[in-house]
Symmetry: C2
Subunit: 241 residues, 2 copies
Amino acid sequence: MSTAALLVIGNEILSGKVRDTNSAFLAVELRKLGVDLERILTIPDDIELIAREAKDMSDRYDFVFTSGGIGPTHDDMTMDGIAKAFGRELEMNQSMIDRMARYADKPLNDAMKKMAIIPTGAEILDVGGLWFPVVMVENVHIFPGIPELFEKKFHSIADRFSGVPFQLKKIYVKPAESDIAEILNALLLEFPELMLGSYPRINEEHYRVMLTLESRDASYLEKATETLVGNLPADSVHKIE
Amino acid sequence: MSTAALLVIGNEILSGKVRDTNSAFLAVELRKLGVDLERILTIPDDIELIAREAKDMSDRYDFVFTSGGIGPTHDDMTMDGIAKAFGRELEMNQSMIDRMARYADKPLNDAMKKMAIIPTGAEILDVGGLWFPVVMVENVHIFPGIPELFEKKFHSIADRFSGVPFQLKKIYVKPAESDIAEILNALLLEFPELMLGSYPRINEEHYRVMLTLESRDASYLEKATETLVGNLPADSVHKIE
């Protein structure tokens, strides 16, 4: 079983100027791959903080992703933070420069070259035709904050990350959560390995709760689903997906 | 100056089943109030983890908010976690029961009563006519994960949180970020107290970067904005907001 964590770096998220969509994207994609995302942390542009949190995540999870802070401006501190996390120096990487020059649509200026200053010993992951690759230091994968690029780059290297995917059933039910809570608790006693979620919804016409049942074992999931549906009051189920 | 942190509790977010919108909402609202949101952390439904992270946030920030995990089901562990964070017991709070009974649209069942089991010494904040109030322990404000309720409850107690609001200018510019990076760096040397953000945009027709300039001092912001616009190449600015 593989685990993962995401470090979102950016004052713009914390101050509400830009909405983070990379977290939700990564959560969905890792789930499909069967990798357990266990922590999402958003912090300001601060080298010390990036270093401390990235190192902590690197020690505790199999795969670490960072989002943001790798552009050419003053507030882009992710490379500095990651270098510090692992006690590395920063250096202008000539193979990055060569690669960027090959893919860029204009000559590299100083600001673009600054983006080739990366931690020593970093691995450069190919991401197809994009001018800027994914830089990896230890198990930390450094991604841009721009959603279109984050998504494109993740897809291009997604086959590096794999686990055993979960099977999921969603059951939309009509009773209030408080009226079925005891049935859910009883289900978990009978199926202790089941991952069971219960999410009340407001403003939905046909159901009041979305229940999610998950297991990496399809037949276990099937049995739990049947048991739950059998235990719910008659006519409780709006639909099952 | 007041600081804040948000602890989002929920496997459903990490597994991509539910998209967290409370973080973005809170970031915008706190910014309007002038409170600095410095950390957003999403973790699984796990009592130990909730306790550790909530205590850490409580020690380091003025206001702490939690989102999620306060319903009547097995996966609702926030009250347990917060009690453990501060070394408190859990008890069924009679004034909560009375209050809930007054506002609920039906008699309280056992599952609903479970929601009145809160840490000893907790403060109960009035949130208008909603049947379930905001529970506060030390500086930790416990909110539901359901966005409609999170937002309604936050608005109802927002006047508890105040700071000195930032003044913001957004400048949308046509050149690429790498072509103006040096101008931005020079601006910060001249206006070291300025909060300057630079956010490249893809797929926008009229500009390539959104610049944000912020200060709590309106005249400082005005001067910095004038200086930047004067230093940018002619015809760079698409619009200023």
